[in-house]
């Protein structure tokens, strides 16, 4: 597995498309807990990789990256991502994030504007408490969280055998043996002034039925160069509407 040590974490990543392409590479960040790079890797990333290098990576404690006892806050996630870019020798990139991954991408774009050309925020929950799913995580009710998953993601917990046991034990480990819940609780909103200072062209992707759909209107009003596309679907949009999300991101980045 391609792993590299970034910010003291072993981060698993996969490259798709042409590494020698002149087009700006796009890095994809996934959501928390039940997600990993495969939702981008088997979804939007190969579509985007037709015209540029696409990099998918597993957040700390997720997928095939190493387990981490702490550092699930957005700030640490942003430092992990910058360290990953440095290790891969990527000076300027496009960033696309789903949910918590979108918050990490947004933070990197705000703090390191020179490193980010364009930004895709898919279902960014701002403040994080705007997301109903977050409440069940904070209340530590994994079953409620699982019930909210679309069918394609629920598959991972079905079958009652190896796959379900493995997925459930990983979820339990994140919920009970790491600071993840405390980090989520502590994560605050981003000030309007900061959002108004975002310099990148930004594509907002939201699901019509998502609990954080109203966030899109706030971002659209505040972020200077933002455009919004909504799709039928809920919060897990990158996995649920992979082809549409891929086509929209490709069009946005190629344009």
């Amino acid at each position: 597995m391609p792993h590299l040590t970034a910010n003291d974490q072993e981060l698993h990543h996969q490259l798709l498309g042409d590494a020698t392409s002149d087009a700006t590479p796009c890095v994809f960040a996934h959501g928390l807990l039940v997600d990993n790079l495969s939702s981008w890797y088997f979804g939007a990333a190969p579509i985007v990789a037709a015209s540029r290098l696409a990099v998918c990576y597993d957040l700390r404690g997720h997928g095939l990256s190493s387990h981490a006892a702490d550092g699930y806050d957005v700030g640490t996630g942003a430092r992990d991502l910058i360290a990953l870019l440095d290790s891969l020798g990527l000076q300027q990139v496009d960033l696309a994030g789903q949910s918590w991954g979108a918050l990490i991408c947004l933070r990197v774009a705000l703090e390191h504007p020179e490193r980010v050309r364009r930004l895709v925020l898919c279902e960014a929950p701002l403040p994080p408490s705007s997301l109903t799913e977050m409440a069940s995580v904070i209340n530590s009710d994994p079953q409620e969280l699982l019930n909210m998953l679309p069918e394609s993601l629920r598959e991972a917990f079905s079958g009652g055998k190896r796959r379900a046991l493995k997925a459930a034990s990983r979820l339990k480990r994140l919920l009970t043996e790491s600071s993840l819940i405390a980090d989520l609780k502590a994560e605050g909103d981003i000030d309007d002034e900061l959002l108004a200072a975002l310099s990148q062209e930004t594509l907002l992707l939201y699901g019509d039925d998502s609990s954080c759909r109203p966030v899109a209107d706030r971002l659209l009003e505040l972020v200077p160069h933002a455009s919004l596309k909504t799709l039928p679907g809920g919060h897990y949009l990158a996995a649920e509407r992979a082809s549409d999300v891929g086509a929209l991101i490709k069009e946005f980045l190629d344009g």
């Binding site: 597995m1 996969q14 088997f42 597993d58 997928g63 190896r162 796959r163 992979a242």
Partner: protein, 88 residues
Amino acid sequence: MTTLTTVAALIQEVIGEDWDLDDEITLESSFADDLELESIEFVALAEKMQASFGEGVDFVGWLSGKELDEIIALKVGDVVEFIDACRT
């Protein structure tokens, strides 16, 4: 070693030693229902196949042209067939 034996060994490697499979891996085994492969394990398998069979077998490219539900429906035999077709 046949293609199936190699693919079966790689699948077992990805699943890990801690998790024994109930049944033998055959051409008819489905990745989702019989082997219960997680999508992240499929990513790992794709990479191992590429390393094992070489650049001539563009497994990642083949997979990335498929929708997730097509990937979920794949059987070991589909993968073996693809590899053999690339090598002839």
